[in-house]
Assembly symmetry: C2
Homo-oligomer: 338 residues x 2
DNA sequence: TAATTTTATGCAATCGATTACCCAATATTA
DNA sequence: TAATATTGGGTAATCGATTGCATAAAATTA
């Protein structure tokens, strides 16, 4: 029906060749200012739009970037996406988002598909389940920039943008200690993942600083989230010496814990303090707003995108860049005694 | 570095032409079973991957679909995306997601960009701000299928998948009346949008059915969400005859209202019942779980994707399809008396 | 004025896959 | 057995933009 106008149409219109049109549109210095003006005029007059697909074929660059993450309906991840798009769209890149649902085999399929679709780069937060590095090595073998965010793998030739989880956890725990709590428990998810190891590390450091001995009974790894948080809290409260505070590595875990604590009649924050991690929006709306460590996700997305762009621009020279962002502790009612 | 293998490599390998390879890979009946087998073997041996960009150029189909929506970090929208991807990825389509942040000019830019990127279709939930139809007509002029979901525009030549908002609101309000509430207020957002008009309509129908006169003072349009919900509730409770229930067209509005009501000492659900709309996950986690109308977003996404596929398959014949999905009322503590 | 640059543009191949059209070899039919 | 049909596959153009190489015209230099 409506044929799109191509550079050939413009060429015919002006009695020049497509090559000249192409050069004029790309502001090639070999083309006279006069011709350029004519071409540009004709282009707007004929409503010319460059064919990105043809450019992609010629250049081998699709101008698409794959973003791979567990779920997009977590505030953290969707905010990261927002940061990535804000940085990449103005540069003419499109973002293809895929969700792994925390499954390794889904992640492998997705990466494969993205490579087949010849994305110019992959920005990924690995699934909890992922053990293999094979798919990542395939990415590297194809010379496609690979940037990890939040959850990374230590693979030479890749870059990463992560949060200083250690420091975030340290601050959260220290804050609980400053509130006077002395028996601080820690709820985590999966200690095979670096981020959770680091959160545990920061927790330990704060304890050590206050001369408190680390008690392994106070560390519980949850399976799922909210109900598991309740269960974990229950378990903790049934210890001979129950804790007086919880630093949870997730907000949903913190929420579950709070629900259990209220059920058993605990006063928060008077008797018991809780801090979560991620600063999910719901932490603010709760009747009892929950303190949480903010991960600055938009900045993380922007930074990951910038690293990708650097990688692209560095033609051949392989850049390996690891950026660590600083988290912020949002103190709310769940941990503010006074 | 690593050259990707093309059909020419396979052709050379087998001493045949690329045309034959192409036909063999596409299972063309003109190619003998023997040759097909050889080609397929060589393809896997050489690790051949079809070049989607080249195919796109030749066919004029990019195999990309644009999805445009206000925000991806709303559970409703991210679930719709999930539905779309589940339906489209197996068919070889990729989904490009863009957020309008409820801004009309952003929406116009995005649609323009998607057309430039030659997507094969656009699935969109229009921004609250959007008045113009110009960008939509551009889509139609390029013969690109345009499918609205949730928030639609009445434009000939387009399809839509929406929720029966009227019925959802009707059920929610009826449920409140069944609980014995007789002074049911309604909080809405923007009555220039069809979905909110319909929710108001369903609300009115339920009232009428119970012989209750519609009271315009009981309908409040909020600007933003949660704090506005509190304010609106305050205003309602200061009326000479305050309501005894609220049906809110948003969950955040319902949450804000509940917060205010608790502050002023109301007992929910004994003295006052509240129902929201969207069934955002937080409605379940709350200490006081909030009743809400579920929009079945995954199904909505799947349906929109299916409509797109029908449109694509129908070669030339323009399909105009309007699907209306049925919502479900999730009754929770906030409105369950007894 | 002749020789040499410079400037501005054309020519044609290329990226990888698809497909209309053509043709040789074999199979079928009269 | 000659004529026709079928099978299997090759040739070359095409999608739209880019770019190395070539070249005519204009400008500069000797």
């Amino acid at each position: 029906m409506k044929k799109k106008t191509t550079i050939y149409d413009i060429a015919k219109e002006l009695n020049i060749t497509a090559a000249t049109v192409s050069r004029a549109l790309n502001d090639n210095p070999r083309i006279s200012a006069e011709t350029k003006k004519l071409v540009l005029e004709a282009a707007t007059r004929l409503n010319y739009k460059q064919n990105r697909v043809a450019q992609a074929l010629k250049s081998g660059k699709s101008k698409n970037v794959g973003v791979v993450l567990p779920y997009i309906n977590r505030n953290f991840f969707s905010s990261v996406i927002r940061g990535i798009e804000e940085e990449l769209n103005p540069k003419g890149y499109y973002v293809i988002i895929s969700q792994t649902h925390e499954k390794e085999n889904k992640e492998i399929d997705i990466v494969q598909n993205l490579l087949d679709a010849q994305v110019d780069g992959i920005i990924i937060s690995v699934s909890r389940q992922t053990n293999s590095n094979k798919h990542f090595n395939q990415v590297l073998a194809k010379n496609v920039p690979l940037i990890f965010f939040d959850r990374k793998k230590e693979i030479p030739g890749t870059s990463s943008v992560t949060l200083d989880d250690f420091n975030g956890a340290y601050r959260a725990t220290k804050h609980l200690l400053e509130q006077g709590c002395r028996k601080v428990a820690h709820m985590t998810i999966d200690l095979s993942l670096l981020i959770y190891q680091n959160r545990l590390g920061g927790y330990k450091k704060a304890l050590a600083e206050y001369g408190i001995e680390f008690n392994p009974e106070y560390v519980i790894a949850l399976q799922s989230e909210i109900t598991a948080g309740k269960d974990a809290a229950k378990k903790l409260m049934e210890l001979p010496e129950p804790p007086d505070a919880i630093f949870s590595a997730t907000d949903l875990g913190a929420l579950g814990a709070i629900q259990h604590l209220k059920e058993v009649g605990m006063n928060i924050p008077e008797d018991f303090c809780v801090v979560g991690f991620s600063n999910e929006p719901f932490t603010q709306f709760m009747e009892l707003p929950i303190s949480s460590v903010d991960q600055n996700p938009v900045l993380m997305g922007k930074t990951a995108a910038k690293v990708f762009l650097e990688q692209i621009d560095s033609e051949g020279v392989k850049i390996e860049k690891n950026v660590v962002l600083d988290p912020t502790l949002e103190i709310r009612t769940s941990s503010q005694k006074k």
